[in-house]
């Protein structure tokens, strides 16, 4: 082990090697399915078949439409809370451990309270009202 | 803490503030009168100080005020007066008062009397402050105070026929001076790194001890540059002709009469005593450039077609003498420089007053258009003008003579550490310059005053010297004569202080 080695992390990498293998297996599965499909399927494309489906009538206009900004606000709220989680989870494992206690608990509630204010604000501004 | 000296600065400042406060305090009608009164009070204070001055101890700083102002950067509010300051303070107070007085009757072309009076008062604060400051930074501060008001005076009330030109002149003036003074500030800071004090008396007493020679030379160059721009020294003079020519009468008078002296005063007050080693190293160059200035000024005058420009260029020559005197590093030379400064203030002040009067009456300062025959047209005005011109060319018996004489004398026998040969050559050249000066003034007098009146009858109705002009000019004329007959009036005051500063 050289000076530039991280101690005690061998198992860490080994664990994720397994994850990688699982992913590879999944990809292999999909590939196999597609392969089988390629062998078995017929292939007779026609114009109609390749047309975008709009309940039987010819498609009108572009398929890629502008979407409502509201989705953006949603996405952002989501990001806020997803990020909130990265603080919540590490804390969750230790807050009741010896050396911590009520103060730690309160702190996290304050933190969540701050986020809740944001939620409150969003609700008040009508972001959460689906029209 | 000397109350009178504080008042000397506070009175004009308060006057300016009251004026800006609005027309409720001082109605429009009486603004100019108010200004004149403030100027008179200031002058009285200055006279009072002169009366109370202990002439037996002229080398000592009197009326001292020395309190801590900004301890963080070691700056003290140190004011006072010694023999070098006293004539300058008197000159300033006098000229400012005369200008204000002049304004009461002769409304400036730009209108807005209130603003002009307020600016002149602020100018007076800056000028007086420069002459009584005994802390390098306070000195610098007052040195800077005059810039902006002077800029406005030139840019707003200057030559009414050339708006762009007067603004350009004003801007050139302020940029030159500021660049100079910024570099001067660096010099002060260099001094501080060695001496760890900004106090001028302290620094003068030490006489450069504790500051390495290299630093001294560097500081001398930096400080010298800043002062030389203001003085002005050839080749840094190029702001001057324009500024003088475009400024209104009061502006020109104060500019030539006092502002230039701030530079030379700075040489005597700061440059010589604080960095003597540096000064010794730089002095020959200063002397050389001063001599060039004398010759250049004289030659340039010969080719000028505009009255005020001509007088302005003559200032370059006169200030060359002043600088030459300083550059000799001798008591005689420096005394001469100071005396020449005072004399130049009086005489050129007078000349600019007269030139302004001529310009106002004729609507032009162009010599070609003025033509000749002023004796016939306005005999008294012409008389005063000739008096001024003759005084300016250094006629013995008038104030202009002694200063230049002493400066040349100083060059004849410069300080021991300087190369005498060089100074002898310079002296000869300067003497030549003096002759040229005489020549062009005489030519000027002949062109303007003698001969037949070429201007049509349209202007014949213009008045000759008015009452206010008499009142404003008389003191200048009188003093020129008095100082010419009795130069000791100034020299006895300055000499002890100069010996202290040069010798110390």
């Amino acid at each position: 082990m050289s000076a530039l080695a991280m101690a005690g992390n061998a198992s860490y990498y080994a664990t994720y090697t397994t994850v990688l293998l699982v992913v590879l297996a999944g990809v292999a599965f999909a590939a196999a399915a597609f392969g089988a499909n390629r062998l078995l399927r017929p292939h007779r494309p026609t114009r109609e078949k390749l047309l975008t489906y709009e309940s039987g009538v010819d498609p009108v206009g572009e398929g890629w439409a502008q979407t409502h900004v509201r989705y953006y606000v949603y996405a952002y709220l989501y990001v806020v809370f997803a990020v909130d989680a990265i603080f919540l989870f590490p804390w969750a494992t230790v807050f009741a451990a010896p050396g911590f206690g009520w103060a730690t608990l309160t702190e996290m509630f304050v933190f969540i309270g701050f986020i809740a204010v944001g939620l409150l604000y969003a609700w008040r501004k009508g972001v959460l009202t689906w029209t | 803490m000397n109350v009178v000296l504080q008042l000397l600065l506070a009175v004009p400042l308060l006057g300016a503030l009251i004026l800006t406060a609005g027309r409720r305090l001082v109605p429009d009608r009486v603004t100019a009168t108010f200004g004149a009164v403030v100027g008179a009070v200031t002058l009285l204070l200055a006279v009072w100080l002169a009366a109370a001055f202990d002439y037996g101890a002229a080398h000592e700083v009197q009326f001292q005020t020395n309190v801590s102002w900004i301890p963080a950067v070691d700056v003290r509010w140190h004011l006072g007066m010694d023999g070098v300051s006293l004539p300058m303070v008197l000159l300033t107070a006098l000229l400012a008062f005369l200008c204000l007085l002049y304004t009461t009757r002769v409304a400036p072309e730009g209108g807005r009397v209130r603003a002009l009076v307020a600016l002149v008062l602020v100018l007076e604060v800056g000028m007086l402050g420069t002459f009584v400051a005994f802390d390098l930074i306070v000195f610098f501060l007052f040195f800077e105070v005059v810039l902006v008001p002077m800029w406005f005076v030139i840019a707003v009330w200057g030559d009414p026929h050339d708006a762009a030109g007067r603004r350009r002149a004003a801007t050139t003036f302020i940029l030159y001076t500021l660049l100079g003074s910024a570099i001067m500030l660096l010099g002060f800071l260099l001094v501080y790194t060695g001496a760890h004090t900004f106090d001028l008396t302290e620094l003068a007493t030490r006489g450069g001890k504790g500051i390495a020679r290299g630093i001294q030379v560097l500081a001398a160059v930096a400080i010298g540059l800043g002062l030389a721009v203001k003085s002005p020294m050839w080749p840094l003079h190029s702001w001057l002709p324009d500024a003088h020519a475009k400024a209104p009468t009061v502006g020109s008078v104060l500019l030539a009469g006092v502002l230039l002296k701030m530079g030379t005063y700075g040489f005597v007050r700061v440059w010589l005593p604080v960095v003597p080693d540096g000064a010794r190293a730089v002095a020959p160059y200063l002397a050389g450039l001063a001599t060039v200035g004398i010759l250049y000024g004289a030659l340039a005058c010969l080719r000028q077609g505009e009255l005020k420009r001509l007088i302005a260029y003559s200032s370059v020559g006169h200030m060359g003498f002043v600088l030459l005197g300083i550059a000799t590093l001798t008591a005689a030379g420096v005394n001469g420089a100071l005396f020449a400064g005072v004399a130049h203030g009086l005489i050129t002040g007078l000349l600019f007053f007269v030139a302004g009067a001529i310009k106002d009456r004729h609507g032009t300062g162009d010599l070609a258009r003025l033509g000749g025959g002023m004796y016939a047209r306005m005999p008294r005005l012409a008389g005063v003008f000739v008096f001024g011109a003759v005084a300016s060319l250094g006629l013995p018996g008038l104030a202009g003579f002694w200063g230049e004489m002493l400066a040349l004398f100083g060059a004849w026998n410069p300080a021991a550490s300087l190369a005498r040969t060089t100074y002898l050559v310079l002296m000869v050249l300067a003497g030549l310059g003096a002759v040229l000066t005489a020549a062009y003034f005489l030519v000027l007098v002949r062109r303007m005053c003698q001969g037949t009146d070429t201007i049509g009858p349209s202007l014949l109705s213009v008045r000759d010297v008015t009452a206010v002009e008499v009142v404003a000019w008389a003191p200048l004329v009188a003093l020129t004569v008095v100082l010419g007959l009795y130069p000791g009036a100034v020299l006895t005051v300055t000499d002890p202080a100069v010996r202290f500063l040069v010798g110390g």
Binding site: - | A72, A107, L178, L185, L189
Partner: protein, 558 residues
């Protein structure tokens, strides 16, 4: 781990209270604005102002209550290797207090600028086809939601106040982001404003990239030293636990490291970290966002950017350089010097040809940033002494003068045309008090009497340069001061010019101002009050420069 009784530290509330008060007020403003009846919406600026004033009051209280001039919070005890001294994440010392004061005061002025009724006398009735402007808020103009605006402003101010107290890289980085993020939004907050959006985009992209670069630098520094505390970094980067003695060569010998030649890595980390901060203060190659952003933003926001945000950047630089990297002075000082010279020269030269008032102020503020870097470039590693006091003194002076100039511009823009310099022609004859104030602030920025405070600000910078042996930089700065004078003076002169059309030469009747002044609306009163306060402060600082210059003298030397 098990031996430790408690991980919970008591929080010294008083010490952390100033930024906390501002942050809580920010939230309060948001909630109140969202839930108060429409009638009461006007309360937001006053609430914000109250929060900032409370912050300043707490500042004074905590300063008065401090016995040692240094109060730490969130500390780690010393442990292990000798370089692992006890270190705190949040330290309140005179530097902190000064900056917090500048920030809170500056923000308060900006709040005042945007308070009160703007130029909409009343909202037009909601009719089809007519765009409703709502109530114009102060000099901000219409289209800026008040509650959000003040929330963002206070949030950013709270971040800046925290930044001044940060003594570890994590707090520093987070605080820096808290300063920046709300400002991006502030710049583009005005509804339907193309220019605001463009300004925000440029500002945002540049800033975000710079933060990323800086973070990479931080990560490298952390990698070399293994700590985030500035003090410990300094010690880890120098041998035997003496901060600021020796440079990179010491790293190999450092007890913090398992060995290896990491000097280059550490050096790279230092440089990248500084690059990120250089963006923040808009130093030379990283300045280009400034003019566009200032012009695009509402004027009060530009004022905030130019003062508070920039102050935050400078305190960041001071902290990083002075607390963490003093040992690398040989590396960063020359670079900072060159940057300073280039920044001020470029800023001034470009400012010369500006015709837009805000853009001129933007370029001039770039130049001022160059001046502000001078003491740093001249420091010989002893950043906490003269360098610090000179920078802080000038920053204080700059803050007052620049805020003042922006305030007047803001007021003028909100009461009529005021974007172009030409719009200021003859302002004195219409609004004498305003013009005098602007002239005063401009001259203070130029450093000329009567703006004595500016003069002394420049003076301390010069002194720092000369003391530090950076004479060449002092000369460059001197030349620059003169260049800058040209445009400051040009503008000042415009104020007193006779109005267009009036005869240039003819004597203007003295009664003209009265008649002309009556036409122009004076503008929202809080903005005028703000200008008044700034004038008073500026005059006070001019008469007693000691207030600004002596601020940091005692503890820095102690």
């Amino acid at each position: 781990m098990s031996a430790v009784a408690s991980f919970v530290q008591p929080v010294p509330w008083l010490v952390v209270s100033p930024p906390l008060a501002v942050a809580v007020t920010a939230l309060l403003v948001l909630v109140v604005d969202a839930f108060a009846p429409a009638r009461r919406r006007g309360v937001a600026p006053w609430l914000a102002l109250a929060g900032l004033v409370a912050g300043i009051a707490l500042l004074v209280v905590s300063m008065a209550g401090s016995s040692s001039w240094t109060e730490g919070a969130f500390c780690a005890p010393g442990a292990g290797a000798p370089w692992q001294v006890a270190a705190c994440s949040y330290v309140a010392d005179p530097l902190t207090w000064t900056f917090q004061f500048i920030v809170a005061g500056g923000a308060a002025v900006v709040v005042l600028l945007s308070a009160g009724r703007g130029w909409e006398r009343r909202p037009p009735p909601d009719r089809p086809g007519v765009r409703s402007y709502g109530e114009g808020a102060g000099t901000l103009g219409a289209g800026v939601p008040t509650g959000e605006y003040h929330f963002l402003l206070l949030a950013s101010a709270a971040g800046a106040m925290t930044l001044a107290a940060a003594r570890d890289l994590i707090t520093l980085v987070v605080a820096l982001e808290v300063v920046s993020l709300p400002v991006f939004a502030l710049v583009g907050l005005r509804r339907g404003d193309r220019r605001g959006a463009e300004g925000a985009l440029k500002f945002f992209l540049v800033s975000v990239v710079s933060v990323a670069v800086m973070l990479f630098g931080v990560s490298l520094v952390y990698g070399v030293t293994g700590t985030m505390y500035l003090d410990r970094i300094a010690r880890a980067l120098s041998p035997a636990g003496h901060p600021g003695v020796v440079g990179p060569a010491a790293i190999a010998a450092s007890p913090a490291l398992p060995g290896g030649d990491l000097a280059a890595v550490a050096g790279l980390g230092v440089m990248l970290t500084l690059v990120g901060l250089a963006f923040k203060v808009a130093a030379m190659p990283f300045h280009f966002w400034v003019p566009d952003t200032y012009v695009g933003a509402p004027v009060p926001v530009a004022a905030y950017l130019s003062v508070v945000s920039k102050a935050a950047g400078f305190v960041g630089i001071l902290l990083v350089v002075g607390w963490a990297f003093p040992g690398y002075v040989g590396m960063w000082a020359p670079i900072v010097g060159v940057l300073a010279a280039a920044t001020m020269t470029l800023g001034n030269l470009v400012a010369l040809r500006q015709r837009n008032a805000v853009r001129l102020l933007a370029w001039s503020s770039i130049a001022q940033a160059g001046y502000l870097l001078v003491p740093l470039a001249a420091s010989n590693g002893d950043v906490r002494g003269t360098t610090l006091s000179a920078t802080v003194a000038y920053l204080l002076v700059y803050a007052v003068a620049n805020l003042g100039a922006f305030a007047v511009v803001s007021l003028t823009v909100s009461t009529g045309p005021g974007r172009l310099l030409g719009d200021y022609r003859g302002l004195f004859w219409r609004r004498p008090a305003r013009a005098l104030a602007l002239g005063f602030f401009l001259l203070a920025l130029a450093g000329l009497p009567p703006g004595v405070l500016g003069l002394f600000g420049k003076f301390v910078l010069f002194r720092a340069a000369i003391d530090g042996g950076a004479g060449w930089l002092a000369v460059v700065m001197a030349v620059n001061v003169v260049i800058a004078l040209a445009y400051y003076l040009y503008w000042t002169a415009l104020l007193f010019r006779s109005r267009e059309g009036a005869t240039e030469a003819g004597p203007a009747p003295d009664s003209a101002p009265a008649a002309a002044g009556a036409e122009v609306w004076a503008g929202p009163w809080p903005a005028r009050v703000a200008i008044g306060i700034l004038v008073v402060i500026a005059v006070l600082l001019s008469v007693f420069p000691e207030i600004a210059l002596g601020f940091l003298a005692y503890p820095a030397r102690a």
